[in-house]
Point group: C2
Chain length 171, copies 2
């Protein structure tokens, strides 16, 4: 894996708004490590969920719906909760509906669109898969840090998540 | 955005190999923050690259090829470098070929498959886009940490990246 930011010396970073310095060596190695862990972890967790015929996004939908009141959610809220576009979510829910995991239904008396419901089969699938997924998350990520590292990284990441959430809400 | 690991008390994590404990509150908030930052940052950087008609994976290909000797790479090596499946990379390179950014060519005297070359237009595109991308990476991620946080997170993430790379190589 390589990086998304090159230090290529032939490329100038001067712009109308002034210079943006390239990442220095320490910033660069951190940025590469972050990208690599994000990408490879996603790949590894996806692979381990495939055994259960689930994509990683399917699993996320199962979790979100299982935590929602009455195990259902308006499609627009589900799109927001899972940071997906409505069209992409719609395709995914169709696939999951065909697999018997969720059901799309209009809510009586609510004309603001469709709800996605977790089916009994979807709930049972989550119960079966969740312990395996927790094991994967621990083995490949969480258990590889000390408690001090976990707290320090949370402190560092939380404001960045907040910043990015705000930007996302605005778009 | 929600999490990929639920603490749902109704779900038991006992398995044939023994208990895997659920994430505790501190592990859980860290795991959620990591997922959220990964996902939202990818979204934000993608959005800012769209202005230049590039997907984030396209930009990565441009960077990797621009750093390769003679600005070209065997397709199989490019798939490894960008952690993509060969079939997915092939589709992507077709799109980028249609946009004039890369060229697929057989290498004379080498029968082990095709090479992807960066075109002059691809190189110029990267020169134009790179300063904007660095600005995005700084604004939404790197510049939001102290130098101490950057070093500490690199120390924590590097062994995890190494572990995941090894797993990936084995599969």
């Amino acid at each position: 894996m390589d990086t998304h930011v090159t230090e290529a010396p032939e490329v100038s970073s001067s712009t109308a708004e002034g210079e943006t310095p390239w990442l220095d060596a320490r910033e660069q190695r951190f940025w590469r490590a972050h990208l690599e862990v994000s990408k490879l972890l996603d790949y590894q967790l996806s692979r381990e969920l495939q055994v259960h015929d689930l994509a990683i996004n399917d699993y996320e939908i199962l979790v979100v719906l299982s935590e929602a009141p009455e195990r259902r959610m308006r499609m627009t809220d589900l799109a927001t909760a899972t940071l997906q576009s409505k069209s992409r979510l719609s395709h995914q829910i169709t696939r999951m509906e065909n697999a018997g995991l969720v059901l799309r239904q209009e809510c009586p008396g609510d004309r603001r669109g469709l709800f996605a419901h977790l089916t009994e089969q979807g709930w049972e699938t989550m119960q079966k898969v969740a312990p395996c997924h927790v094991r994967s998350v621990r083995e490949h990520f969480v258990d590889r840090f000390t408690p001090e590292q976990i707290d320090a990284m949370y402190e560092a990441l939380a404001p960045v998540a907040e910043h990015l959430r705000t930007l996302r809400g605005r778009s």
